[in-house]
């Protein structure tokens, strides 16, 4: 039995301890905002926050998260999340949208760590989030906009 916090609520999982966290989130908790892309931490679509840090849930066995706090796109909140939401809608960042929950989780984590990121900071933090619609230019601009909106 694994006990953890999901978006602020205590949850338990008593299935196979090797089950990837992504499966638990989507199939058992029915939170389908977090996406399956590659299954091997190559694309970033499954990014969640694990104890406040970005983490690829597809390569995270649920046994690893005993006692941890997991936040998904459904539960992300706070100054950075609000700024990112406003910036994302302001620029209509998504095209097909499949990768965007992962993009947003990585962007929020970056802004929590680096409130005013440079292009290089953005490249470094977002390099593991692939977008087949190539919305990268809007993602970068939206992160800058979110950072600017948090100033002052």
């Amino acid at each position: 039995m694994v006990t953890f916090t999901l978006n602020g609520q205590e949850r338990t999982f008593d299935g196979d301890p090797d089950t990837p966290l992504l499966w638990v989130i989507r199939d058992f908790e029915k939170l389908t905002g977090t996406k399956y892309g590659c299954g091997v931490a190559q694309c970033g679509a499954c990014t969640v926050h694990l104890d406040g840090m970005p983490r690829r849930s597809c390569v995270t066995p649920v046994a690893m998260i005993e006692g941890s706090e997991v936040v998904t796109i459904e539960g992300i909140s706070g100054t950075e999340a609000d700024a990112v939401k406003t910036a994302w809608t302001g620029l209509d960042v998504p095209q097909c949208g499949y990768c965007q929950s992962g993009q947003i989780m990585s962007a929020v984590a970056l802004l929590q760590m680096v409130p005013k990121p440079t292009d290089a900071d953005i490249d470094g933090a977002m390099a593991g989030n692939i977008c087949r619609c190539a919305t990268y230019h809007r993602i970068r601009a939206a992160i800058h906009n979110a950072a600017s909106s948090m100033e002052g």
Binding site: P20, S106, L110, M113, G128
Partner: protein, 213 residues
């Protein structure tokens, strides 16, 4: 002369030679997966030659992709037996732990993690509690064993370690030890960490001589 018998003899000889030819690569392959015991180098009377031979044997570990991939010459780790640049593109960052928002722990755990429902080419994500890159001054990629040998002895390029600390690091460090248990889908470095530690110990005791090239 019985031609039938003669031909059978030739055929048998061909088979014999053929078998020998086949055995050679197999024994070489086996040699690459094991380490000769440090004690077996005692037969080399000249101490300097013995020391060099010990380090060359240890070099089978040191120059293996499992070790060199995290001793890259740039800020980007290497990956796989082919030692290609790490995918996704990740970079050194503070303490070799990655950049803000894309640290090693975004994907790597405290242990090797099997992946489910994937192609045979990717069986697990490697992991260790101390997962990080070696500092840039300890870069090994692209260097000869002789250059790496000099580097390992140089406190300015070995993390300020004494030779005793080098022995301890090689013989007992947990992240070094990961090389022998790298997880499904990755070839371990040759031999065992204990055998490797004995080779390094014997190398240091014999004067820590380096190969000429």
């Amino acid at each position: 002369m019985n031609w039938k018998l003669a031909l059978t003899g030739v055929a048998a000889l061909c088979l014999f030679v053929g078998a020998g030819t086949l055995l050679s690569p197999a024994s070489v392959a086996q040699d690459a997966k094991t380490l000769k015991p440090a004690a077996s180098f005692q037969s080399i009377a000249n101490e300097r030659e013995r020391s060099v031979a010990l380090f060359q044997e240890a070099g089978k570990v040191i120059q293996h992709p499992r070790c060199v991939n995290c001793h890259p010459a740039t800020d980007r780790p290497l990956q796989g037996a082919s030692m290609h640049p790490h995918q996704p593109p990740v970079f050194r960052g503070d303490g070799g732990m990655g950049l803000p928002g894309m640290q090693c722990t975004t994907c790597h755990s405290a242990e090797n993690t099997p992946v489910v429902g994937q192609a045979d080419t990717i069986k697990s994500i490697p992991g260790n509690p101390a997962w990080h890159l070696a500092p840039i001054e300890m870069a090994w990629a692209g260097k000869s064993l002789a250059q790496i040998c000099q580097q390992i002895k140089d406190p300015a390029r070995n993390g300020g370690k004494t030779m005793d600390q080098i022995v301890e690091h090689m013989a007992h460090d947990e992240l070094v030890g990961w090389g022998w248990k790298p997880g499904a889908g990755r070839e371990p470095v040759p031999g065992t960490q204990a055998e490797f530690g004995e080779l390094i110990t014997a190398w240091v005791k014999s004067g820590a001589a380096c190969p000429a090239s």
